[in-house]
């Protein structure tokens, strides 16, 4: 009984964020609201750690099914939302909107990561996607365009998802997320897989369904961009885990090729387009696309180790990209946007230049940072199951990506004097959390890998 009350805690915490957001609409005390929302997200993360440590047995509570898989992503998304909240709290004029909408997003996330049926998943996804559309609308230069693109493509994605569900239902008269018997989907397994993959590729930003990403990332304010790259995209991967590796797990051989293809074209697309970017934010948008491609390598491999590596990389990239966008946001507010404007950054703000360099080196996969560990595990999983070509392509892409990261670093370390730039305290805090993950968990990745393994064993 006590455990069941604990099991309701995550949803209650997420609901409390909504209440704080509502209260803030009336009382307009943004500072207090920011502290409350931040604390609640931190609590969400800590609850996840608690479940991982002490309650490893799964817990079923009506529409919630709490397993270590849920807890792993609770830790991750709790921390990610906390970081985004901190970034957002510096725009105090817009915080009340953020508090309410991020509350809805977090409720959606809890429902997705502990979902028991496809209906629940689709409702939760819609909740997240609509709240995010409004968040995009709340700031940024080209916000209407960005929000419209995001909304329309989100709608398209949901309709394809629904169509796939309908096809699935014909063979398997149950929509609960539980392993299906093999042989039920005779003839349509590949079609169903393709439709689900397409629907989820929109959100997970896999090529060719990611063309909206750079425009939306560039058009919205940078804290929302961090939310899109750090949270929304990763939620889509959680859904991929649940749909493909739980429900359709018997059809692994049918869909493995789809993910291999998606991963290869996504990596090449992201990296090659990122090469020619001039705007740093757009470069990170494309680099985030290529990172989604790396994550997909683990899905294509599909073994326990492959999934574990994907989860590790999801964890790693969330912290890296939010840290990167925190610095990009700080510089953007000083009107520093293009590669050229970044020149001499080291002499204007050592903090920004060194942190951003570490994060970019990590994204490029330089040891001993966390991005290297993720790539090491992913490429190892590919080699271990005989898909050496995926490792080769991944490695070629790492090499391409070095160029654009190092090019930016070259600008940052050019000697050029300029006015000193000061970072706000919240930015520094977010970047320090991110650097903790990048450096400390990069050198000692064992706990994350351990919990990722635990999580993937409950798929």
């Amino acid at each position: 009984m006590v455990l069941q009350i604990y099991g309701l805690l995550p949803l209650a915490t997420a609901a409390a964020v909504v209440l704080v957001g509502l209260a803030d609409l009336f009382y307009r005390n943004d500072k207090a609201a920011a502290y409350a929302v931040g604390t609640l997200f931190a609590a969400l993360s800590i609850e996840g750690i608690f479940f991982l440590e002490f309650a490893a047995s799964p817990l079923r509570l009506g529409i919630l099914y709490i397993t270590p898989f849920t807890s792993f992503f609770m830790v991750l998304f709790g921390a990610a939302l906390l970081m985004v909240t901190m970034l957002s709290s510096s725009h105090s004029d817009k915080f009340s909107r953020f508090a309410l909408l991020s509350g809805f997003v977090s409720v959606g996330i809890i429902l997705v990561i502990s979902g028991t049926s496809l209906i629940e998943l689709i409702l939760a996804l819609e909740l997240i996607s609509i709240s995010t559309s409004f968040l995009i609308l709340s700031g940024g230069k080209k916000r209407v365009e960005a929000a419209t693109k995001f909304f329309i493509l989100g709608g398209l994605s949901v309709s394809i998802f629904t169509f796939a569900m309908a096809l699935l239902f014909q063979g398997n008269p149950s929509l609960s997320i539980a392993p299906m018997q093999p042989g039920l989907l005779t003839g349509i397994a590949v079609l169903v897989s393709i439709l689900f993959a397409v629907a989820l590729s929109f959100e997970a930003s896999l090529f060719p369904f990611n063309l909206w990403v750079p425009d939306v990332y560039e058009g919205s304010s940078t804290d929302v961009t961090a939310l899109l790259a750090g949270v929304n995209k990763k939620v889509a991967f959680v859904v991929i885990f649940e749909v493909f590796f739980v429900m359709l797990s018997a059809y692994r051989s049918e869909f493995s090729g789809i993910f291999a293809l998606l991963s290869i074209i996504t990596m090449f697309f992201g990296n090659i387009i990122a090469l020619v970017q001039d705007n740093v934010k757009r470069m990170f948008a494309y680099s985030a696309i290529s990172q989604a491609g790396y994550i997909t390598i683990g899905l294509a491999v599909g073994t326990a180790f492959g999934l574990e590596s994907s989860m590790f990389q999801i964890f790693a990239h969330t912290f890296m990209i939010i840290g990167a966008f925190a610095i990009v946001a700080m510089l953007e507010s000083k009107n520093i946007k293009t590669y050229r404007e970044y020149s001499g950054l080291f002499y204007r703000s050592k903090f920004a230049a060194i942190s951003l360099s570490l994060i970019m080196l990590s994204m490029a996969g330089i040891p001993p940072l966390i991005g290297f560990d993720g790539k090491l595990f992913l490429f190892s999983s590919a080699v271990s199951s005989g898909m050496v070509y995926l490792a080769v392509i991944g490695i070629i892409n790492s090499l391409i990506s070095i160029y654009y990261y190092i090019r930016l670093m070259g600008f940052m370390f050019t000697e050029k004097e300029g006015r000193k730039l000061n970072a706000s305290r919240t930015t520094i805090a977010v970047v320090i959390i991110s650097l903790f993950a990048v450096v400390v968990l990069g050198i000692y990745p064992t706990p994350v890998l351990h919990y990722a393994a635990l999580a993937s064993s409950f798929l």
């Binding site: 490429f379 271990s384 070259g410 000692y444 890998l449």
Partner: protein, 480 residues
Amino acid sequence: MQVIQALLILAFAAPAVGLMATLALGQRRSKGTGIASTAVSLVLSILILSSFLSSGKAATEGITYIPQLNIGFSLYAYPISVVLLLMSSIVFFAAAAGGNVKGIKYKGSVSLLLLFQVAATGLFLSGNLLMYFIFWDIGVIAAYFMISALGTGGRRRSGMKFLIYSFAASVLLLLGIIMLYYYSPAVSGLHSFSIPYLIANASSIPDGIQTAIFALLFVAFMIKMPVFPLHSWMADAYADAPTEGSMLVSGVLSKFGAYGMLLLFLMLPIAKNYSQYVFALAAVSTFYAVFVAMRQTDLKKVLAYTSMAEMGIILAGIASLDQIGISGAIFGMLAHGVTIALAFLVAGSVEMMFGERNLALLKGIGRSAQVPSYMFIIAILGITGMPLTAGFIADLLIFIGAFGAFGLYGLIPLAAIILMGSYLYFFVEKSFFSHGPSSPHEFSIGALQKFSYALLAGSVFIIGSLPFLILNAINLLKVL
């Protein structure tokens, strides 16, 4: 825990502690910190060598920190690593004392030097290939910043070129070691990156896979050594790096590749099938480097290509796959490291004193810059392998090995050395000791630089005249 294991841990920790101290202390104390830290490392590496010689067996010390994949951090003292550690600590000490004389960006330059030393110590002492790879990349990053932030001339472009080549090498290396890991036999379900384990067990990998791994790793190490035709990053990087950067990149970083090449040949039995082609490549690379060196006008570029020629000779020794040839290659790495560092230190001094590296414009500097000029003669003696210098023992052993393995063909690269030697003497005579008015100079060298010269030149002669100090250690390598 035995003494040598404690020493191994200390040797790895020393540069790391030095690095943190440098970062914590101010700009003015960094030079002293750097010199003190590298001096401690040198003492420790001599102690490791002597305690290794007295115990006479390999020692390891390590922990496993990713048990799921059997990935650990381990330090491993065996003949190759002990000798290379000694070489690198000599070069680092000399670079810390003699480099960056003008005192530009002390803190940055000392921090990068110590970061590089962390990487080199970790790499040479590493007991597993994953750590080898990790330290390799850290070394590359440190060298990149040395070139592009502290260098001269077209440093940004040279640094970028260096980095792109280096990362091409490192991704090939990563793929190669992952394949080596998975295709080697597992013990109770766990594979291993451990170097001794792989040397003992890699022979059971199927031939096709072995060939693929060999190709990947061979290209990676070729880039790093460098060997023709993948050397085009080298001349620019060596020339545009600051003095200590040139010393370290040519003396230490090139050994990352040579050490890896040696491990590759010791590890994969398939290497035997390709050894004659590798030898031919080494010979071509040597001749190519010598001929290109003759066309250079920049002092540092001449030295860069002589360094490449020497690496070709070392590769020839490795390819001989013969006990004596391999010993020669290990000895050659030691000799080449200290000799080329001495030569680049001279280039740095000359550039500082005369503001010029162009050989056509440096006339009669032997009179106004006596110490560097005579030190340069010593370096050339070492490079060409005159008796009593370290290079002599290396060349002797390498060519005995090569003769044993390839017969008379094995002696072909010797012609390149003779050619290179005669050219170097010729150009020293023409530029350093030419008659006529001497170039004007602005600076003179200080006590620390003189000390650095003495250290390197002393090493060249001590190692060359008392080779058994090192050969006793190398002879313990009974893996063949």
